[in-house]
């Protein structure tokens, strides 16, 4: 335990690749022992299907779906529009809730209800209320994302260190200055982490909307391959969706690390005091 804290770089590297290798070996073994390509196929056919998909080759039999590039573009567009809309609406609401007690008392019960009810259950109803076009999917994405962003912004604004706020007050900052120069920068890490979690929700929402509503995009593609029992291509589509999730969730984490070193050290020192 004590010695393992100071493990050399090459050991870390080795363990990582061993873990990666073990996964693919287990996958292949599982595929071989199942022996049924309808249930599980090994990594090789899936990677072949993935490459074929990325070169825009579709297998025969899967009718009525877009090419991979169009599907990826459509899913990305849904994610981006829904997410940006959620930020534009959610961040101001969170800010207002964190600053004004009345607004908080009014909105909070709604927020906690919306937060503990799985909003996905509304999708079948929304299908009839607003249709199944691109805007309906953007709306679903917005709806599943916005509450996460509000909750995180609210929390960040509400718990800005009082030491920071008092300095601003005693130097006579106006409300605008106070918001722009103290509250926003200090709560930015929380807002960003809300956006990161929200981005994960946006991907889920966009793909789910495609599966349940229009049948377009990556989600539609995945379910079409599932319907025609083309397991390698279905798993390749799952891979694409998974890769999208990983890219979107890991990239901001790295960015956050770079941008908010100062915040981390502060919270760390607070931790030590406690």
């Amino acid at each position: 335990m004590k010695s393992s804290r100071t493990m050399s770089f090459s050991t870390r590297f080795g363990v990582f690749w061993a873990s990666l290798g073990l996964f693919f070996v287990l996958w292949e073994v599982a595929a071989l022992s199942t022996g049924n390509s309808l249930i599980l196929v090994g990594p090789v056919p899936v990677l072949q299907a993935l490459i074929a998909l990325l070169q825009n080759h579709l297998p025969r039999g899967a009718l009525g779906i877009q090419g991979a590039d169009a599907a990826i573009l459509q899913t990305l567009a849904t994610i981006v529009f829904g997410f940006v809309l959620a930020c534009v609406v959610g961040i101001p609401i969170g800010l207002i809730m964190g600053r004004w007690k009345k607004a908080e008392t009014l909105i909070d019960p709604w927020l906690s209800a919306a937060y503990s009810i799985p909003i996905v259950i509304l999708i079948p109803m929304l299908y009839f209320a607003i249709g199944a076009d691109f805007f309906a999917e953007v709306f679903v994405t917005f709806l599943l994302t916005v509450f996460t962003i509000i909750v995180n912004t609210h929390h960040g604004v509400k718990y800005v260190s009082s030491a920071l706020a008092e300095v601003g007050k005693s130097y006579g900052a106006s409300e605008t200055q106070f918001l722009a120069k103290i509250i926003l920068p200090a709560s930015m890490p929380d807002i960003i982490s809300g956006m990161r979690i929200g981005m994960g929700r946006a991907i889920l929402a966009a793909v789910l909307a495609e599966v349940l509503m229009s049948g377009n995009g990556l989600g539609g593609m995945m379910m079409t391959f599932q319907d025609v029992l083309n397991t390698p291509y279905m798993m390749a589509a799952v891979f694409l969706i998974g890769l999208m999730g990983i890219a979107v969730l890991q990239l901001p984490k790295i960015l956050e690390h770079r941008l908010f070193r100062w915040k981390e050290t502060e919270s760390f020192s607070r931790e030590m005091r406690r």
């Binding site: 493990m7 363990v15 061993a18 009014l106 799985p118 079948p124 009082s162 279905m234 999730g245 990983i246």
Partner: protein, 274 residues
């Protein structure tokens, strides 16, 4: 309270019990009124149904014996899937999280996979589970497990990692064995994080089961609801949404209650120091 006060504009104090008595029923009334107005404006029962029809359908869920039987059967499947998937995830996730936080070799081995699987949107598991265990409640359990377990692992892991070193050092200095350090120091100190993980986990489990059931359309309350919507019985669908909302709200409340009981000592300790 963690030393950071709540920062509000001015001194707007509001009696919380007053707020609960007035604002909750008030906002509920506004919600029903807006809903009724939209439904009346659209005036098309194939697009949106008003609160009255939905309320009638909700009552008929309990008074109409065939409907009640249908709902009870669906409810049983859904609740079993949620609780089973969640319990499995807790039993598997908590130990893995503790081991990852405590032993660097386990951390290095599991961390990439936990992060990758955590980033994959739940819907991507649905076709895989359909292939492996068919369109059944077993698949719902599998999906609930898969999307819950990584949330729990990540929270427990974060908790163990952030345990103040002085606590463990103290144990080591007084000659505690590894088992004692684990059961008397690490586990109690991590309990708040474990509870957070479990609370996030149960809402993810609910969401996962409902997503699965909506795609499968033949099992559980989610399936009933999707099926009713497909048959244009929007009032019934809305009533089932209310049932699901009540279930998820009460599960969230139960988890909140358990958390408060479990980590009461932690809060009171902090209060004394304050």
């Amino acid at each position: 309270m963690e030393g950071n006060g709540e920062l509000f504009q001015g001194d707007e104090k509001m009696n919380t019990s007053y707020a609960r008595c007035i604002i909750l029923p008030g906002s509920l009334a506004i919600f029903v009124a807006v809903w009724w107005a939209i439904a009346a404006a659209v005036n098309n029962s194939r697009e949106i149904v008003g609160p009255y029809q939905t309320g009638t359908a909700f009552v008929s869920l309990f008074t109409d014996p065939p409907l009640t039987r249908l709902m009870a059967a669906g409810l049983q499947v859904t609740m079993t899937s949620i609780l089973l998937g969640f319990a499995l995830a807790a039993v598997v996730g908590v130990p893995i999280g503790v081991l990852m936080g405590r032993y660097l070799i386990v951390d290095l081995f599991c961390d990439p996979w936990v992060n990758i699987w955590y980033s994959i949107p739940a819907i991507a598991f649905v076709p895989l589970a359909m292939n492996w265990t068919g369109v059944s409640a077993t698949s719902s359990v599998l999906i609930a497990f898969l999307i819950t377990v990584f949330t729990i692992i990540i929270n427990v892991y974060g908790g163990v990692k952030n345990i103040s070193g002085s606590l463990v050092d103290c144990g080591v200095a007084y000659g505690a064995t590894q088992t004692q350090i684990m059961t008397k120091i690490i586990l109690p100190a991590t309990l708040p994080n474990i509870m957070v993980g479990l609370r996030l986990g149960i809402s993810r489990a609910i969401e996962g089961v409902i997503i699965a059931e909506m795609v499968f359309t033949v099992v559980g309350i989610g399936g009933l609801m999707d099926d009713a919507a497909d048959n244009l019985q929007l009032a019934l669908s809305g009533a089932l949404i209310i049932v699901l909302a009540i279930i998820s709200l009460s599960l969230a409340e139960v988890m909140k209650f358990i958390t408060r009981r479990a980590v009461a000592w932690k809060e009171s300790q902090a209060m004394i120091r304050e």
